[in-house]
């Protein structure tokens, strides 16, 4: 009833919108954008993925033959990097969650007047280029850098051992780079929790741990799901961290796609791999969101 009353009052304002065509007109810019920059490239990609080399064998010359076996070939040639990407992205996501949760919790509930400053600090890394931040990790973990020097003096690392060009460096770089994508959604959902629900929990004799387990964490679940998705999806396709911080044994699927596209000029395999990566992420995410059961969020 109230809604009807409000709607009636506003009817003069929204009269224009009532014309059946208006919502569709408003959709045009967005749809045009999607069509041009998503749908068209997707079709191009799909069509490229089933091409085979032209009879001339010239570099980069391919003709459409609808060879779907390209997908099998592409996968069998890159399954190692495929599973590695998923594994690294998973580890980086879990690490980011472990680091971000306490951080977001502290900002949401304990930071008082520092709240805005802390939030700015979380976002601050975005003011510099992603690449520069990744290169910075090369220096931090480099053999002359602070971490290695300390670890060497503690005899945890041998005099020749280093940390860069390793799986450790790649996962560290990814965790760091995607951390804000985890922290911000977590903060947003924690901050929304009504403090009275926490008071009610303690009124009902729940201790701190029980309150967290039964009240805070379930209420923050939308943030956890959003944060893990925003971290996992780009991390699985990332290849910059592996390029700059990894070695030939830590290459990810993004590196393979890049190499196929630029070095070998093998567009069909690059396209097939891109499609499979997209499909794999889509399936993983669907299963995850279903299980987490937070439809209201996504």
């Amino acid at each position: 009833m109230a809604f009807v009353a409000v709607a009636a009052k506003r009817s003069s304002l929204v009269r224009g919108l009532k014309r059946p065509s208006t919502p569709y007109l408003l959709l045009i810019p967005g749809l045009a954008w999607l069509l041009l920059f998503f749908i068209v490239p997707i079709f191009t990609l799909a069509s490229t993925s089933t091409q085979t080399p032209a009879s001339s064998n010239e570099i980069g010359a391919y003709v459409q033959t609808f060879r779907f076996a390209n997908y099998i070939d592409a996968f069998s040639g890159a399954q190692e990097q495929f599973f590695r990407s998923i594994l690294y992205a998973l580890i980086a996501t879990l690490l980011a969650l472990g680091i971000s949760y306490p951080l977001a919790y502290a900002i949401a509930f304990r930071s008082g007047k520092w709240k805005n400053l802390l939030l700015v600090l979380v976002i601050a890394p975005f003011f510099t280029s992603f690449l520069l931040r990744t290169i910075a990790w090369k220096q931090i973990l480099g053999s002359e850098g602070p971490v290695v020097t300390v670890l060497r003096s503690l005899h945890i690392l041998g005099p020749q051992a280093g940390l860069t060009a390793s799986a450790f460096a790649v996962v560290t770089g990814m965790t760091y780079n995607f951390l804000p994508f985890m922290t911000l959604p977590l903060y947003a959902s924690l901050e929304r929790i009504d403090p009275r629900t926490l008071e009610a929990a303690s009124d009902l004799y729940a201790n701190g741990i029980t309150t967290f387990r039964k009240v805070t964490f379930p209420l923050s679940l939308p943030g956890v799901v959003a944060g893990t998705l925003l971290t996992f999806i780009p991390a699985a396709g990332d290849y910059i961290n592996s390029t700059l911080l990894g070695n030939p044994r830590t290459k990810m699927i993004g590196n393979v796609i890049e190499s196929r596209f630029f070095q070998i000029v093998d567009y069909p395999t690059a396209a097939a791999l891109s499609f499979m990566l997209m499909a794999a992420i889509l399936i993983l995410v669907t299963v995850y969101v279903r299980r987490a059961g937070t439809e209201e969020l996504v």
């Binding site: 490229t48 091409q51 064998n57 010359a61 391919y62 070695n247 830590t250 070095q263």
Partner: protein
């Protein structure tokens, strides 16, 4: 140059690519459109090339040059390129010099979409290695140069005047040549690295880097295995060399496989020894208290050349030719060679070098004698099918 050294050329190129979003979008659009054409089944044959482009050189006094890093004489105090400044003054040309090439394949991947469509790629001169130059010329992506406009072309070294991929040098002129060989840190490895056994010694495990340029790394390994990479080698022989590389990688001997940026890891000490390029190592040694050294492996190194070419999409051919002609003046070539330390392709530059630096005039790495040239091979030209096959095997071995 100090600031330059903080970031590897590859990294800088990445940053540039990321920052110029307009360029990025244009590039993606180009590739997308090219892909679409390919998707429609149109045979993307390169017949439509220079024909469609009108030379605007007389109206637009400008020329845009894409080159590799550390590849032109640079004045650190004035922050400019002296020879280029001199040319600007004498010719009145507005020259835009960009260190935009850090890998032949990556550069090709970026511009091929526009080349196919005959759209301006943003450069009037590109500098690419022999095998990639061969591809451009074969596909008609270059314009024939006008001999009358480049009288200094006669100064090209006889050995370079006629190459299989461009008989009579109708479409290209050598910019510099160089050796791939062994580079090492003299403090870490005082005994030096003169053979591949020295390079892959147990003490160097995890601190070796090799070039991502297939022909250099593979050419050196093949010679170590007694195979001549300039001759008619078999697929088995190539794959044997791949197995060797693969083993060094899976055993953890090779730290990374990269282009110019190995120099960054040599400076930081993360890499102790590399398969690298002669000029890089000399510049590194010069800038780091003579800490690094270069040698051609005893089993043999490789020799490559980079070539100046005018893309089929350039509307400033005449201006580009003015620039090429200028750099083939012996005095100018000597000035460039004194900085870049690569092999100078210009006859008469050695005599000019005597006036600049008599020691450099004697360097076998800038003006190689017969004995030095006997130690290196030029990697054989490959058919497109073989090129794809071998590059695939190489990329797989290096983890991709």
């Amino acid at each position: 140059m100090v600031a330059n050294n903080l970031l590897s050329p590859e990294t800088r190129a990445l940053i540039r690519a990321q920052m110029s979003r307009r360029g990025f979008i244009a590039g993606v659009g180009g590739v997308g459109a090219a892909g679409l054409l390919a998707a429609c089944g149109t045979d993307s044959s390169p017949s439509e090339t220079s024909a469609g482009v009108v030379d605007l050189s007389d109206k637009e006094k400008s020329v845009r040059w894409a080159n590799w890093t550390l590849y032109l004489d640079y004045d650190e105090d004035a922050k400019n390129y002296p020879t280029l400044e001199a040319l600007k003054k004498s010719s009145g040309l507005d020259i835009s010099y960009k260190e935009d090439v850090d890998d032949n394949n990556t550069f090709y991947g970026k511009v091929v979409g526009q080349l196919k469509l005959g759209q301006d790629i943003g450069y009037d001169i590109v500098t690419l290695t022999d095998w990639m130059a061969a591809r451009w010329i074969r596909l008609g992506y270059t314009q024939a140069i006008d001999e009358a406009a480049i009288p200094n072309k006669k100064n090209i070294l006889p050995a370079l005047a006629n190459v299989s991929f461009d008989p009579g040098r109708k479409n290209s002129l050598t910019w510099q040549s160089g050796f791939a060989g062994l580079g090492w840190n003299k403090e870490l490895l005082p005994k030096g690295v003169h053979t591949l056994d020295d390079l892959f010694a147990p003490a160097n495990k995890g601190r070796i880097e090799v070039l991502s340029e297939m022909r250099d790394t593979m050419g050196i390994i093949m010679q170590y295995q007694g195979v001549d990479p300039s001759g008619q080698f078999t697929e088995d022989q190539f794959m044997n060399a791949i197995d060797f590389l693969q083993k060094q990688i899976s055993d953890g001997f090779i730290r990374q496989v990269k282009g110019n940026s190995y120099s960054e890891d040599l400076i930081s000490g993360d890499a102790a020894a590399v398969i690298g390029w002669s000029g890089d190592l000399f510049i590194l040694a010069m800038e780091n208290q003579d800490k690094f050294e270069f040698a051609i492996p005893e089993s043999g190194g490789t020799l490559w050349s980079d070539n100046l070419m005018i893309p089929s999409t350039s509307a400033h051919k005449k201006n580009a030719e003015t620039l090429m002609n200028y750099y083939y003046e012996p005095a100018v070539a000597a000035q460039v060679a004194a900085y870049v330390n690569y092999i100078c392709p210009v006859e008469g530059a050695q005599a000019e070098m005597e006036k600049i630096d008599p020691d450099l005039a004697k360097s076998p790495y800038i003006f190689p004698d017969a004995a030095t040239l006997a130690k290196v091979k030029v990697f054989a030209g490959l058919t497109p099918a073989d090129e794809t096959k071998y590059e695939s095997a190489f990329q797989k071995a290096i983890g991709n």
